[in-house]
């Protein structure tokens, strides 16, 4: 009898222990965490609806606005000379071909003198040639003599033409002055000349720049630069305003000092908000596919599983999620949560505690 009883008892124990065992291995995700809405609020748990978003990284690059070199112009005096007249000043808008300055150059004056002499010489030679032609036709003189005066004339004529050509090459001449015109439209961004100053081809008088399109150079770290593709859209941020732009060049080398890669964007400079030299932010998003993104802080690591808490109206349902990759503070979720579901994005450490208890929190399995 006693033996039977003992046996029964032992059997019961085993059963009990078995049950206990089973209990221990209950799936984490089977539990529901019941909380009232007020309690959710008290714990500071914020809810967010899961949406499909561009699964790219948002890069915020430090950047500087630079002039668009294709739309920059300089005004040089092609000759040494003295500035006699200035048509524009710094900040003025100039149209293409508009006069900007007049330069007096002794070189040109000298040339003009030479032209005049050459003209006289040519005219004299012409007269000689014409008389000798008549004389030859009348067979008064020999061909040799006629031929010599003809050559003389042609030489004088050539000399004169050459001098004229030379003068023309300096540009537009107004009297003894050289008239300088703007090579393109834009603003006079730099003026390095005053009236009466001596200038020459080594000296830039004006810098003219069209600000309609500017370049924005961003510096991306090596890893990010690999993700940026030519042609993608970006945004230039300066203070509150944002200006759209397009990446048109990715640097081929790494900067010595900052060890970052140049990213160039062309931006349409509306309202002239961007000024070369400005420090701005270049914000761009890599990757173009849409995917489900959840903030990293919404996910708790429990026993090696990534757990998300889905709000079901009056309770949280723990869900295991499979993460495709991690991009700046977000997980790209492969499976585990659907679009439109509400999840807890803050205070999730509390939900973890509700799930596994305070003491168990310490276990790093």
């Amino acid at each position: 009898m006693i033996r039977k009883l003992f046996f029964l008892l032992a059997f019961g124990c085993i059963l009990y222990a078995g049950e206990d065992h089973k209990h221990e291995h209950e799936e984490l995700t089977d539990k529901e965490i019941h909380l009232k809405e007020e309690q959710v609020k008290d714990l500071g748990i914020e809810l967010q609806t899961v949406k499909k978003e561009l699964a790219g990284r948002i890069l915020n690059l430090p950047a500087e606005v630079k002039e668009n070199l294709l739309r920059s112009f300089s005004v040089y005096s092609p000759v040494e000379g003295i500035v006699r007249k200035l048509y524009v000043k710094e900040g003025d808008y100039v149209a293409k071909g508009a006069p900007v300055a007049e330069i007096y150059s002794p070189e040109i004056a000298d040339l003009i003198g030479k032209i005049k002499i050459a003209k006289v010489r040519m005219e004299t030679a012409k007269k000689l040639y014409e008389r000798d032609k008549q004389l030859y036709n009348q067979k008064v003189i020999q061909y040799t003599r006629f031929f010599a005066s003809m050559i003389e004339y042609e030489r004088a004529q050539g000399e004169y033409k050459a001098l004229l050509e030379k003068l023309k090459s300096y540009g537009e001449i107004k009297g003894y002055h050289l008239l300088l015109r703007s090579p393109g439209e834009g603003y006079v961004v730099e003026q390095d000349v005053v009236l009466g100053e001596s200038v020459g081809p080594q000296r830039e008088l004006f810098k003219i720049h069209s600000h309609e399109f500017v370049w924005v150079y961003g510096w991306a770290d090596e890893k990010s630069s690999r993700e940026i593709k030519e042609g993608i859209k970006a945004v230039v941020k300066t203070g509150e305003t944002e200006i759209p732009c397009r990446v048109d060049f990715i640097g081929h080398e790494v900067d010595e000092k900052t060890r970052r890669v140049k990213i160039r964007c062309v931006a349409h400079n509306r309202d002239h908000l961007l000024k070369p030299g400005m420090f701005v932010k270049l914000s761009l998003k890599t990757g173009r596919k849409k995917a489900l993104l959840v903030p990293k802080r919404a996910v708790q690591d429990i026993e090696g599983k990534k757990i998300l808490f889905v709000w079901k109206g009056d309770y949280f349902e723990p869900r295991e999620i499979h993460v495709y990759k991690e991009i700046n503070g977000y997980y790209v979720v492969e499976e585990g949560v659907k679009e439109g579901e509400k999840i807890a994005v803050s205070g999730t450490v509390f939900l973890k505690t509700k799930l596994v208890g305070v003491e168990e929190a310490g276990h790093a399995h």
């Binding site: 009232k36 500071g44 900052t258 060890r259 509390f350 790093a364």
Partner: protein, 1020 residues
């Protein structure tokens, strides 16, 4: 001697008046405390180590400090806790070591310790206070919302309230919660890249551009001028103007305003907060110095708070929240109530039994006199009036009249019998007749209480004062009985009409009949007594054990643990949620919580909340009737919160902590080396503990699982660019550690300037990696370049005791005695937990004291019984008589145990003291009876006659002494106010014991004496 007293009677009377006046004065001036402070002699050393993890704190700081302190003289225990950023070492000295001597020893060794810990960390001694030093709590809050908590703390608390309160005598320290005001420089790391600036540049610029130097004096035409170099920063704008770097290429300076913004905020890395009624406030705890009187300090601080309120700006309120004096007042007034009502009851009974108004008046007058003399002695010897000392007086109230009763009774009897005698000689003779037995009786009581003086540590600190005041008062009562009482009777007592009142006559008649019956039924009666003794011993095994009943503090404290990785902000949310639930009870006066630790002090982190709940007086409770019930309801209501909670009371928690280093009833410590193994063992122990009936609030201390951001320097990069690790860690210190990078002066106040990364950086480690840190060889290096940043789990707290690590399981016990609980727990753990070699388990907490006290008692009680026997033997010069009188011991035990069993109290130290007391009192009854029998035998009476006559004649003093003692304790049993809990078991035992011992002395002892005497005579 008595002749001299009676001769100088007028002088004695004058002395009496003097003593009354001095006694009243002493009583009013007697310092009042809640109860004796049980803090062991203990010196705490803490080291603030910002930025270090628990592991590093242990290796770098705790172990060196421990090793230095271990070797000190009289050190019995070194405990430590290593937390992230904090090392806490407690050095316990042998009981009785002078605290100032102990502190001196530690002070001498501190430089050694400082040398052993890494530079920059300074171990300092904790405040010279006891575990019960948290005398008062107050908060600052702004009703108008103009000031932030940081401003309240850094301006009004730090510079207004603190200095004033610190000036109050007896205040050792003020522990302050809440944020501290700081000017935060928030750099924009993107701008850093653009301008080519690094964190190193920023830190250097701050260090070099914020100085103040003295320039001595300069003689000029205007006179002798003091030269001041004012390079200090006085406003946030000044900070923004500081140049960081000159860009030589571009020829421009970069200023802080180009790369950062400055904001007024709080000092980062705060590890504590104080919330009240659901919002955060600036909270402070006033810590009183050791040996200072709580009530005095609290009263002074309270007055100071009112003064401070006057000078604070409008809207800013300084609010007193809680103080220990509140409990003191409650407890002392409870005891006073018991004392007063005890006095009245005793007076009434004496008057009733004496049957003579004047005689009883004289007897009663001895009572206040005794107390007054006791107060004088207490004050002169530096004792305080507290739960234990006043309790001692309350317990003994009935005993203090005994000496006077015997003397007055004898004088009265003689006066009545010898009406024609000379009053002087009658009084003198009557006193002379009884002074020996009276002295002997008091001596016996003093002797029985002597074992209590072998108590050590907490039980000694609690119960020695009780025994001591009782003895002082007894001696005082003896003194009064011998001096004032004869004089008073001489003046005021007149002979009565008859010796015995009518009531006494009836009692005599009834007793006569009973006595006759007892002689006839001797054998059955003795058998019954023996049986009931055995039965009571059986009952004893059914009575639970505990150290002492819990004192009702009128406040509940909820301890809540959260996941170790919660932030302070999250912790605040939970604390406020708890407060919200608590405030739903109409019985709650107020509630407030501390989260984590204040700037100085305790070994707690932000995942730990203590919520204080101040309850209305017990008679206003409606939703619950006991504190336990309240705890149960609240525990249910807090179930939804993500916390593990335990309930206690503010002072009780501190005492528990002092005993075991843990704030719970029972602490199970698993010692060993490997934290992982310890953790697994602790899990197992927790599981077992939870299964044991009576266990509540079972918690395993979280010691692991704290996530850390580890900065591993990348050596190859550092070597390549010649960067030292120090430089790297310096950056970590400033940018993440929140180290002070300078001060901003506003008027006379200095505020720290710190560098904090923008919020979005704190949330994302990948961003942190991109922050430029150094510029070397024309290259800018980011955080990610110079170090690997990894998030890994680490340890949360490492506890050590005597150099061995341990993990901890705590629990409270409800609805069950602690002694039995621990027994069951211990045997189950022994059976079920397999300890690896080198690992062991100890059990600590309240029950430890109970066991130690019981162990002492198990030696001391037999010794005291033996001493009683020796005294009796000396008195009677007869082993036989001494043994017969000793019969009273088992007689008293019967009643004591039965009373204890019925009342439901556990066998605790107070109840054990009750047993000691009744041994003394009960033997006294026997002594009175037996000495008279012997006297009559000598006078030639036959044994039967002698026994009967002695019994009849002595019934009055026996009854009066017994009943007065009995009645004097009734108030303690009846009232249920704060403070009565501790004395109740004692009173219960004494009441029960006196009842049976008196009854049996009167009924059984005469017949036993007779039969023993007969046998003895026959044998000869």
């Amino acid at each position: 001697m008595f002749r001299a007293i009676l001769r100088l009677r007028l002088l004695v009377l004058l002395a009496l008046v003097g003593i009354v006046i001095y006694g009243i004065y002493s009583f009013r001036k007697l310092p009042i405390d809640a109860f004796p402070d049980p803090t062991p002699v203990q010196v705490n050393i803490y080291t603030y180590a910002p930025g270090l993890s628990a592991e590093e704190v242990e290796t770098l700081i705790t172990i060196p400090v421990e090793s230095v302190m271990n070797g000190l003289k009289d050190v019995i225990l070194v405990r430590s806790a290593s937390l992230p950023a904090m090392s806490y070492v407690s050095v316990y000295f042998k009981d009785g070591t002078d605290i100032y001597f102990a502190r001196r020893l530690v002070m001498e060794k501190l430089p050694d310790a400082r040398e052993k810990v890494p530079e920059g960390f300074t171990p300092v001694m904790g405040p010279n206070a006891t575990g019960l030093g948290n005398a008062l709590l107050y908060v600052l809050h702004d009703e108008k919302g103009r000031y932030s908590n940081a401003e309240l703390k850094s301006i009004f608390q730090q510079w207004v309230a603190r200095p004033l309160i610190m000036s109050v005598g007896g205040v050792e320290e003020i522990v302050q919660f809440g944020p501290e005001l700081a000017y935060r420089i928030v750099p924009d790391p993107d701008k850093f890249v653009a301008y080519g600036i690094t964190l190193e540049d920023l830190i250097e610029a701050l260090e070099k551009n914020n100085l103040l130097v003295g320039g001595g004096f300069f003689q000029s035409a205007e006179g002798d001028l003091v030269v001041r170099g004012l390079g200090r920063v006085y406003s946030p704008e000044d900070i923004l103007r500081i140049p960081v770097k000159v860009d030589k290429e571009k020829g421009i300076s970069v200023y802080i305003k180009d790369i950062a913004r400055v904001e007024k905020g709080e000092l980062p890395n705060r590890r504590g907060a104080f919330t009240m009624n659901g919002r955060e406030v600036q909270g402070n705890i006033v810590v009183k110095r050791i040996f200072e009187n709580t009530k005095e300090v609290v009263d002074k601080v309270k007055r100071k708070l009112q003064e401070i309120q006057k000078i604070l700006p409008e809207g800013v309120k300084i609010e007193h929240l809680y103080d220990q004096a509140y409990l003191t007042e409650k407890a002392v007034s409870t005891i006073q109530k018991a004392l007063m009502s005890g006095m009245f009851l005793v007076a009434f009974i004496t008057a009733f039994l004496m049957g003579n108004f004047r005689a009883s008046l004289i007897v009663i007058s001895s009572l206040p006199l005794t107390l007054l003399i006791a107060f004088i002695v207490m004050r002169e010897s530096g004792m305080t009036g507290n739960l234990m000392t006043l309790g001692g007086l309350a317990i003994g109230i009935g005993m203090f009249v005994d000496s006077s009763v015997v003397i007055v009774e004898n004088i009265y009897r003689h006066l009545t019998e010898k009406k024609d005698g000379l009053k002087f000689s009658v009084v003198l003779d009557s006193v002379k007749e009884v002074w020996r037995p009276v002295l002997f009786a008091v001596l016996i009581i003093v002797i029985v209480f002597s074992p209590i003086f072998v108590f050590e540590s907490i039980e000694g600190k609690y119960f020695k004062p009780l025994a001591l005041t009782l003895i002082i008062a007894l001696l005082a009562s003896l003194f009064i009985a011998f001096t004032f009482i004869p004089v008073l009777t001489y003046y005021f007592l007149k002979p009565g009409k008859q010796t015995y009142s009518k009531i006494m006559a009836i009692i005599h008649r009834v007793y006569d009949v009973i006595l006759e019956a007892s002689f006839k039924a001797r054998i059955p009666i003795i058998g019954a007594v023996v049986l009931s003794f055995i039965f009571s011993l059986f009952l004893l095994t059914r009575i639970g054990t505990e150290f002492a009943p819990e004192l009702e503090e009128g406040a509940v404290l909820v301890k809540a643990f959260m996941d170790p990785n919660v932030s302070l902000e999250e912790g605040k949310k939970v604390a406020m949620a708890i407060e919200k639930e608590v405030l739903k009870f109409p019985e709650v006066v107020k509630t407030y919580s501390t989260i984590g630790r204040a700037e100085k002090g305790e070994a707690a982190d932000v995942n730990y909340i203590e919520t204080w709940i101040i309850l209305k007086p017990q008679n206003e409770w409606k939703t619950f009737s006991t504190r336990e019930e309240f705890n149960q309801i609240l525990r249910k209501r807090l179930e939804w919160l993500p916390i593990s909670i335990a309930f206690t009371q503010p002072i009780k928690m501190r005492i528990d902590e002092l005993l075991s280093g843990v704030r719970a009833d029972i602490a199970i410590k698993i010692f060993g080396e490997d934290p992982e193994v310890l953790n697994t063992l602790a899990d197992k122990v927790r599981e077992i503990t939870e299964q044991i009936p009576g266990a509540v609030d079972v918690q395993k201390e979280i010691q692991a699982g704290r996530l850390q951001l580890r900065v591993y320097p990348r050596w190859e990069i550092l070597e390549r660019f010649g960067i030292t690790v120090e430089e790297v860690l310096n950056i970590v210190k400033y940018t993440l550690g929140g180290a002070e990078a300078g001060v901003l002066q506003k008027g006379t106040l200095l505020f720290p300037i710190v560098i904090t990364l923008p919020d979005e950086f704190r949330g994302d480690i990948s961003k942190l990696k991109e922050v430029p840190v150094f510029e070397r060889d024309g290259k800018i290096l980011t955080f990610g370049d110079i170090a690997d940043l990894k998030v890994e789990p680490g340890l949360f707290v490492i506890r050590r005791e005597n150099n061995i690590r341990f993990s901890l399981v705590m629990c409270n016990v409800e609805g069950r005695d602690i002694g039995g609980f621990v027994e069951e727990l211990r045997s189950r753990i022994e059976k079920e937990v397999n300890l690896p070699k080198g690992y062991f388990i100890t059990y600590g907490g309240q029950f430890e004291n109970q066991q130690r006290a019981m162990k002492r008692l198990s030696v001391a009680v037999p010794v005291s019984i033996f001493l009683i026997f020796v005294l009796l033997y000396l008195n009677f010069n007869s082993v036989r008589d001494a043994l017969v009188v000793m019969l009273n011991v088992p007689f008293a035990v019967i009643g004591g145990i039965i009373a204890l069993y019925i009342s439901g109290f556990n066998l605790s130290v107070p109840s054990a003291i009750g047993f000691i007391a009744i041994f003394g009192i009960a033997t006294l009854n026997g002594v009175v009876l037996v000495s008279y029998i012997r006297q009559l035998l000598e006078n030639g009476y036959s044994i039967r006659e002698a026994v009967k006559r002695a019994a009849i004649l002595r019934i009055r003093p026996i009854l009066i002494t017994a009943i007065t003692t009995f009645i004097g304790l009734i108030p303690l049993l009846v009232i249920s106010d704060i403070g009565s809990e501790v004395q109740k078991p004692l009173a219960t035992v004494v009441v029960g014991g006196i009842f049976t011992s008196t009854l049996l002395t009167l009924i059984v002892l005469p017949s036993v004496y007779e039969s023993v005497y007969r046998r003895f005579v026959k044998n000869i």
